[in-house]
Amino acid sequence: MKTAVEIAEERADRWGHQLYAGRARAILERAFIALRSSTWVPIVTGFIEPVLYLLAFGYGMGELIGDVDSGRGTVDYAVFIAPGLLATSAMNGAIYDSTWNVFFKLNESKLYKGMLATPLGPLDVALGEITWALLRGLSYAIAFLAITAPLGLVPGVSAILAIPAAVFIAFGFASFGMAITSYFKTYQQMGMINIVLLPMFLFSGSLYPISVYPDWLEFLIQLFPSWHGIELVRDLWFGYWDSGTLLHLGYFCVMIVTGLYFTTRRLRNLFMR
């Protein structure tokens, strides 16, 4: 049986051993244990929300709207918004976990402080928490696909790729969300996150193509991650692939790396300087 010291010594000469103990899974394990007793309401809400939107808009409004030009062929309105809602729910789940939950553990329960008093490093904490948010995105995506497929809203087998895409998006949002949250100290600052998020989702093309906007607004929307997320999932949903898809992927790669970098740095400065 290895002792705590032997385990730590094994990594002593590795590059970055101060930041990463190779044990992000311990943080994940904690999340699973906490899940058993935690309240299920926000988790279930996050899953039901896109389904409700789909019913209300896809089948309600959809009757009035008819077909839409998706940019990848003309489709039924419900088919058009389904991938947009999938992307949105993946993002929302990831954001919930990486902002309010992280804020609480950082400032109220001082959980991270306790974790970082052990041989764990800030990157273990960041990766563990973000992976948890990813798993949530993954489960939302699978459930959404399982509901929409029998309704005939899934155009082809390639839509299965929307699942890893949703996870990727969740990764980007979770990583970035945690980075921003780690710099926030008050509830007022946290409230700003909500103020930014709602319009971002409403106007980013989940419910209609952004080509309806004037050029300048269209350009502006294209700067935001939610648009890239929605477009990425929509591309894969329709089995459509071009340089734009790569751009969306690249956008999230940058988001993931930047978020991880700043989260790790901030946690280290907060608890280890």
Binding site: R23, K110, L116, P119
Partner: protein, 308 residues
């Protein structure tokens, strides 16, 4: 000289212009119970964080088990059990889950931790609370759980920052008893406190800190011998008369301290002095003869009380 586990020379920590720890030197020997005694803001907690490799020094040197925390943070933390001033137990988990997951943070195997949990629950006297949520525990229980949690990795050094602050007297005594038992098993304890009785109870040796500096060092007994007299006579004449009588009392012994509510007189024989005062027809409204404590040492060194 026994093996030194912690060794600091000229250890300094600055936050901008403020010097929290000002060039302090100290050593902690293996198996020793070492205390940092001082009022709030003396630099005790900052020193603890530097030892715990969760804060980096500004200058000076420190070695913990022969290693520099700046280079070997994770390895040093693997040797330590940390009990912070504010409990940071995991409120979403039960008592036993708290112990379990903390062991996992150290990378310990599930089997090892499962066995360890039983031992720790016994030690912390929390067997019947094992499935309770942390919120349901009293302050004393929480603190015992935090100590048990710090022991899950079988640390060489246990760091306790103000371990009994905020606990009622009964809970304090239970906690002291637990810490005594730990000491007997050979664990090295590093304790900060601003309670002199706690320092006297728990520490083999301590440093008195004030404003980031070490004012004195020694065992509680040595410190009392060196900086105070055997006994102290406390007399009160009422706040008006204290000032009036003080010059007379000053003549009667080598050292007195005038506090806002009472006068402390440092002597070898308190009863004899009290008789002498009474003989002078100075009748104090209350009087008390007691042995010197670390509180008196602190008063002597800094001119201030520990708890203000």
């Amino acid at each position: 000289m026994p093996e030194s586990l912690i060794s600091a020379r000229g250890l300094t920590k600055k936050y901008g212009d403020f010097t929290a720890v000002d060039a302090i030197d100290f050593d902690v020997a293996k198996g020793e119970s070492f205390g940092l005694l001082g009022p709030n803001g003396a630099g005790k907690s900052t020193t603890m964080r530097i030892i715990a490799a969760t804060s980096q020094r500004s200058s000076g040197t420190i070695s913990i088990l022969g290693r520099d925390p700046e280079e070997h943070g994770p390895q040093i933390r693997a040797h330590l059990g940390v009990v912070p001033q504010q409990d940071n137990l995991d409120g979403e988990l039960t008592v036993s889950e708290n112990l379990f997951i903390y062991g996992r943070y150290f990378g310990l195997s599930k089997k090892f931790i499962q066995n360890k949990i039983e031992e720790l629950l016994d030690f912390a006297q929390l067997q019947d609370k094992r499935d309770a949520k942390v919120e349901a525990l009293s302050g004393g229980m929480k603190r015992r759980l935090t100590i048990a949690r710090a022991l899950v990795s079988e640390p060489d050094i246990l760091m306790l920052d103000e371990p009994t602050t905020g606990l009622d007297p009964q809970a304090r005594h239970i906690l002291w008893d637990r810490l005594f038992r730990l000491k007997e098993t050979g664990v090295t304890l590093v304790i900060t406190t601003h309670f002199m009785d706690e320092a006297e109870q728990l520490c083999d040796r301590l440093v008195v800190m004030d404003k980031g500096k070490i004012m004195a060092e020694g065992s509680p007994l040595e410190l009392i011998k060196q900086y105070s007299t055997k006994e102290v006579l406390e007399v009160r004449f009422g706040s008006d008369r204290n000032k009036e009588v003080a010059p007379i009392l000053r003549e009667m012994c080598s050292r007195i301290e005038e506090l806002p509510d009472r006068i402390l007189m440092y002597v070898e024989d308190g009863e004899a002095l009290l008789e002498a005062i009474t003989a002078k027809k100075l009748h104090p409204t209350t009087s008390l003869v007691r042995r010197s404590s670390l509180e008196d040492v602190f008063l002597r060194l800094t001119g201030r009380s520990l708890i203000e």
